[in-house]
Amino acid sequence: MTHYVFVGWQDGTTTPSRTITVTSDVNLTALYNKVMRGVVINTSPIALQVTVGGVPVQSGQPFQIDDGATITISVPQEAIFIT
């Protein structure tokens, strides 16, 4: 699923509904942008690398996904730190 939102007309009009008096041939283009969502995954008490859809992501680092998208997050079951 992908979410798009209307951002305006190519001629600068910003409302999705408009009234036009037609006195010549016209070309009108509606412009859309994909809606993205910011995601931050944190692990505590220590920052770990996780995977989102198989892609490594560092804990605490924001990233964007499509609005409405379903993601699979995997975190390590165990973490051993050698000090």
Binding site: Y4, V5, D25, A30
Partner: protein
């Protein structure tokens, strides 16, 4: 409207449709006969064509309509080699019927081995019919004109006619136009040569042959109309192919010449047959053509009389599954601002459909698209997909809406 003949409405040198007595009228060959149908709005036709006479091709006849007298005339002749040249005149009625003034008249007798082809008919300002035709006898081609000395629907060949205008090899396509006060102009074109014209003063005879500067590509790729004493001509010139426009105004038939040519549209093709029509309201001319630059598209450009200029860019007016780019015709003149335009498409059951569409100067085209996704819009409550066009009345106020959010 349907036909089995691929030249059912051919060619732009011979008109097949007109507007008169509140109706659009379309003539064509259905493959067996000349038939006609009519429509009050150009959309709804009776669907029951009326048979006029036998004719296996649209190339064998041309019509002329005089709105002032409400008289429709046709001329018919073939390349069959044994046929006469025929003429008939009738009166269209608002009920969709043409009442013929007389039985079909024989304008030229038949003679074995003689061809009287591609007739173009025009009626002078006094009602006398002229027929220009390609004539072949013993392998020699001529372009000829004959005239009737009667103007009541009968045909009696004028004592000064027929006249051989030129000897041309190979054969020519003729195009006859009326001017004012009985004057006429006969235009003729053959493949690979300039288009020629000779003017007639209506009494003393025919003037000198006047040739266009450019060379005609194919003999049927030209069209002309007359306004007052001026003939307006468009044609496809030889490579580099272009649609050329030029005029010939009657002053002195011995010395009149075609005006400097204007390229209406460049980068066309050998197969394009442009056709001219006039907007009776404004006097502006419209040049329609098919298939170039995009296959299966119908285009036009407007010639604004007040400024003597053609549109810079063509209007991509319609799309359809066209059979050939030279199968186009239009009404002589507009109904108000509306011009009837006809072309052929293939019919799935075999043969061809004849498409009739109305160009109206009162219509404006709204072309809508969305980016980067395909989202429909509503125009006055009607949904149109992205990439589509709609036509609305000039000056109309429309409400157009697209969705704020789209989930794909």
């Amino acid at each position: 409207m349907r036909t089995t003949n691929p030249n059912a409405i051919a060619f732009p040198t011979q008109r097949k449709s007109f507007y008169g007595v509140t109706r659009y009228w379309q003539f064509w060959s259905d493959g067996i006969n000349i038939v006609y149908d009519s429509s009050a709005d150009g959309v709804t036709w009776t669907g029951i064509p009326t048979v006029v006479r036998p004719s296996t091709s649209g190339r064998y006849f041309g019509i002329h309509y005089d709105a002032t007298s409400n008289k429709l005339s046709y001329a018919w002749g073939t390349d069959g080699g044994v046929d006469a040249l025929y003429y008939r005149r009738g009166t269209p009625s608002s009920n969709g019927i043409i009442m013929w003034d007389q039985a079909e008249q024989k304008a030229m007798a038949s003679a074995t081995g003689e061809y009287k082809e591609y007739p173009s008919i025009a009626v002078d300002s006094y009602g006398y019919p002229y027929i220009e035709y390609s004539y072949q006898a013993n392998g020699v081609y001529y372009i000829c004109v004959t005239k009737s000395s009667t103007n009541d629907g009968t045909w009696t060949t004028d004592t000064s006619y027929p006249v051989i205008l030129a000897t041309v090899t190979p054969n020519c396509y003729p195009l006859m136009l009326p001017l004012t006060s009985g004057k006429m102009v006969a235009i003729y074109g053959t493949s690979g040569a300039p288009i020629k014209a000779r003017e007639c003063d209506g009494a003393a005879g025919w003037g000198a042959e006047q040739a266009t500067a450019s060379i005609l590509q194919d003999k049927f790729d030209f069209s002309a109309i007359s306004v007052g004493d001026t003939a307006y001509l468009v044609f496809t010139k030889q490579a580099p192919y272009a649609t050329q426009f030029t005029t010939l105004t009657y002053f002195n038939p011995a010395t009149d010449t075609w005006s400097s040519e204007i390229a209406v549209q460049t980068s066309t093709a050998a197969t394009v047959a442009p056709i001219l029509a006039i907007n009776s309201e404004t006097g502006d001319l419209y040049c329609f053509w098919l298939g170039i630059p995009k296959l299966n598209h119908v285009y036009y450009k407007k010639y604004t009389v007040a400024t003597a200029t053609w549109d810079t860019n063509p209007v991509d007016w319609m799309t359809d599954a066209l059979t050939a780019n030279n199968q186009i015709n239009t009404t002589f003149a507009s109904n108000g601002g509306s011009i009837g335009v006809t072309w052929l498409t293939n019919y799935a059951g075999g043969g061809y459909d004849i498409r009739f569409s109305i160009y109206s100067k009162h219509l404006r085209t709204i072309t809508y698209q969305s980016s980067p996704i395909m989202v429909g819009a509503t125009i006055n409550g009607v949904i149109i997909p992205s990439g589509q066009s709609v036509q609305v009345d000039d000056g109309s106020v429309i409400q157009m809406t697209v969705p704020l959010d789209v989930i794909t």
